[in-house]
């Protein structure tokens, strides 16, 4: 249970970074922390104590495996996170070119 609570703590740290920080790069890091906390949570869901890695190797009987499906899903989720992070970083570089700052309180040309 305490492991799940640790995931929640990590999620809250990321959320704090996204909501409270003013530097664009720190916001991106906060978003990445959120993604990692969720991935960690999902992998933990499939874990069982004293479990083996779910690999079908030669001359081995299969017992006590951890659930392989969350690992595959988390791999997909990591790829998606990679795409989003790369996009955000390139947007951040362009924003720095246009505004000359990373401070979001100074990047306010839009009203909304």
């Amino acid at each position: 249970m305490s492991l799940y609570l640790l995931c929640l703590t990590l999620f809250c740290i990321g959320l704090y970074g996204v909501l409270r920080k003013r530097n664009i790069v720190k916001i991106i890091i906060g978003l990445a922390i959120i993604e990692y906390s969720i991935n960690l949570f999902f992998v933990l869901l499939g874990y069982r104590f004293h479990g083996r890695a779910p690999i079908d190797a030669q001359d081995q009987n299969i017992l006590n495996m951890v659930d392989p499906l969350p690992q595959a899903l988390v791999l997909t989720s990591i790829v998606i996170g990679l795409g989003v992070t790369a996009l955000l970083i390139s947007i951040a570089i362009r924003l720095y070119e246009k505004y000359g700052t990373f401070d979001i309180t100074k990047i306010r040309r839009l009203k909304g």
Binding site: A53, I55, A57, L75, V79, L82, A86, S90, I93, E97
Partner: protein, 149 residues
């Protein structure tokens, strides 16, 4: 390889890189080709292959890679990887279903087995390896363009 002491990092880093980068690339290729038998596969192998190039760029400066692989070539290869994967999936239509594994499965735990899965791994590794490299190149070129102004 450009051996100019002005660009890139210190001599120690360059020497170590020269020794290890080939091994990293080889390990990536092994992970891709052995992906249907052991942990790994197209994605993990592709990332390792891309990282070997990134490693070169970090140690020797970006010209080592940008002079060989332009961004256009990288994104063309990436499209080819995606199209290859899609057409491997579409081969299944001949057997009646999308993504159907219609090739011979072979013996388990042999290198040439598992039908279309090794082919898909190859396509994915092309897509992921070149794609990651293209992302890195784009960011590096973007950064370079900013400094020149």
């Amino acid at each position: 390889m450009i051996d100019n002491s002005k660009t890139g990092m210190s001599l120690i880093v360059k020497t170590i890189t020269r020794l290890t980068v080939g091994l990293i690339l080889l390990f990536g290729i092994y992970i891709v080709l052995h992906g249907h038998l052991s942990p790994g596969g197209g994605f993990a192998g592709g990332v390792i292959i891309a990282l070997s190039f990134v490693h070169l760029m970090l140690a020797f400066g970006k010209e080592v890679v940008t002079s060989k692989i332009s961004k256009n070539l990288a994104s063309n290869l990436e499209s080819i990887g995606a199209l290859m994967f899609l057409s491997i999936a579409a081969i299944g239509f001949f057997g009646g279903s999308f993504f159907l594994n219609i090739l011979k499965k072979g013996e388990p735990f042999e290198l040439f087995s598992a039908g279309t899965i090794p082919l898909s791994n190859l396509a994915i590794s092309l897509k992921v390896g070149i794609g990651l490299l293209a992302i890195f190149l784009a960011l590096v070129i973007l950064e370079g363009a900013k400094k020149e102004r």
